[in-house]
């Protein structure tokens, strides 16, 4: 009932009212399991809240360039942060916060072998065992680009490409893979670790040298307020680092 009253209060809130100081945070989809936990710890520690939005880093870059009112951007790829810095939308060069890992995910009942060399994936694409394979869109999702690089490095890109289904971001690609409508997919370790994905199939990490490292950089955007700055500092603190490490991220050395 209280929620309903809250909903009604929102309806009646004046049109022009901007949200109070709960800064909007744009975060790469591979963080969609870990970051809510970090935000929860932040709220516990400081009583302040942030508003999280997850999506592909490329789309966020577009939106921020077009004036989207985010105060922090956690990109899955540092080049997007550099693009925004060049456009004058950031406060400084930002901070490396994690290095991501990818792996091959096979849903329950998949006819593919959990083979980190991806040789079986190539064979399955040729012999018809593989009908659909899910990755994030390499055009604007860094995890999709890493997946493409790994498939190319294994020499199976040409065979697999006709079977690809592209997620708008890596969460959606993971959704495609876990639903069983695709026979496999390349997904981030940080999502493979979550109970829902774990229960849906098997995951084998791919060797980190098969793709450009997923150097994930975050940055304060112009106009970031005090709460955003506090959260940004919190993200570099021990509590946040512990959570990120638990989700399989490799952490940069502390400065």
């Amino acid at each position: 009932m209280r929620s309903l009253i809250f909903a009604l209060a929102l309806v009646l809130a004046p049109l022009a009212a901007r949200a109070a100081d709960a800064p909007a945070v744009a975060a790469a989809s591979d963080l969609s399991a870990a970051l809510p936990e970090v935000a929860g710890a932040f709220q516990k520690a400081t009583g302040q809240t942030v508003k999280l939005t997850f999506g592909s880093s490329g789309n966020f870059t577009q939106q921020i360039q077009n004036g989207a009112p985010y105060e922090i951007f956690l990109s899955a790829d540092e080049s997007y942060v550099q693009t925004l810095q060049a456009a004058g939308r950031t406060q400084g060069p930002g901070e490396l916060y994690a290095v991501g890992r990818i792996g091959l995910f096979l849903p329950k009942g998949s006819p593919l072998k959990p083979d980190a060399t991806l040789k079986d994936l190539g064979a399955a694409a040729r012999d018809g065992r593989l009908r659909k394979f899910a990755i994030a869109n390499p055009d604007h999702a860094p995890y999709g680009r890493a997946a493409r690089e790994a498939l190319q490095a294994a020499g199976v890109w040409d065979a697999v490409q006709p079977k690809l289904v592209l997620g708008e971001n890596v969460s959606q690609a993971t959704q495609f893979a876990t639903s069983g409508s695709a026979q496999g997919g390349v997904i981030p370790l940080s999502l493979a670790i979550t109970p829902q994905v774990k229960a849906a199939g098997r995951f084998v990490p791919l060797p980190a040298d098969r793709h450009q490292p997923l150097r994930q950089r975050m940055v304060l955007l112009t106009g970031a307020g005090p709460t955003a700055q506090a959260f940004y500092r919190f993200l570099q603190g021990p509590q946040a680092r512990t959570i990120l490490a638990r989700y399989g991220f490799t952490l940069p050395a502390r400065r």
């Binding site: 929620s3 809250f6 909903a7 049109l15 999506g55 360039q65 077009n66 985010y70 971001n169």
Partner: protein, 227 residues
């Protein structure tokens, strides 16, 4: 998040968007619908096509044009930013502006049909009796056309509650501001939270069914009265 993971905040944003859309489209739609029904409009076919276009345009096309029109590189976007300090895109006001455009056919078409169904002799009788056009509108036209007006509002409301593609492109899914129920469902599905997505989908389904039932029921009334 409340019971079963229902995102009440997103529900509130959707309600607020649907409410404002209806409130603003009611007078605008009435004027447009009545003009199209009763007056000689130059290039009427073109105007009607423009009104109907959001029905058939892919939401991504509409969203793309609106994003371009609202963004920081357009004159409108720059003027808005200068006046309010934030861009029109990715704000609730931007969402509302987009909502007004993509709901135009849902508001205008049922009202226009209702006005067109009014017998000409009734309006002529009103004029002969000395009623001004304004009083004719209030005392004769609106009371006869109200089922069409109400069904237009019901459709507009339901359509706004459920709209996804345009909202995704011009909104940015910011909690409490531009994340509507439809976007929250999308987010929950991607977060593997099938329970919350299911609960919210059921709410949207119920809303839509009720609104469509209202709209059809009222359209039926108009048909019976003038058929």
């Amino acid at each position: 998040m409340g019971a079963a993971g229902m995102d009440w905040q997103a529900f509130g944003v959707s309600l607020k968007l649907a409410g404002w859309t209806g409130l603003l489209l009611l007078p605008a739609g009435l004027i447009l619908a009545r003009t199209l029904a009763f007056h000689r409009v130059p290039a009427k076919g073109l105007v009607e096509a423009l009104v109907a276009a959001p029905l058939v345009l892919p939401p991504t096309v509409l969203g793309f044009y609106l994003l371009t029109a609202f963004g920081g590189n357009s004159a409108l976007g720059q003027a808005w930013t200068a006046a309010f300090g934030h861009p029109l895109a990715f704000s609730f006001a931007g969402l509302l502006a987009a909502s007004l455009i993509f709901n135009l056919p849902f508001a205008v078409q049922p009202m226009q049909r209702a006005f067109e169904a009014l017998p000409t002799d009734v309006r002529q009788a009103a004029w002969v009796s000395g009623l001004s056009p304004w009083r004719t509108f209030w005392r004769i036209e609106l009371p006869l056309a109200w089922p069409g007006v109400l069904s237009a509002m019901a459709l507009t409301f339901a359509h706004t509650m459920g709209e996804f593609g345009v909202v995704l492109m011009v909104g940015g899914s910011i909690p409490g501001e531009t994340r509507t129920l439809a976007l929250s469902i999308y987010d929950r599905v991607q977060a593997f939270d099938a329970r919350a997505a299911g609960a919210m989908s059921a709410v949207l389904l119920a809303f839509s069914l009720v609104a469509i039932a209202v709209a059809y029921g009222l359209t039926g009334r108009v048909g019976r009265r003038h058929g």
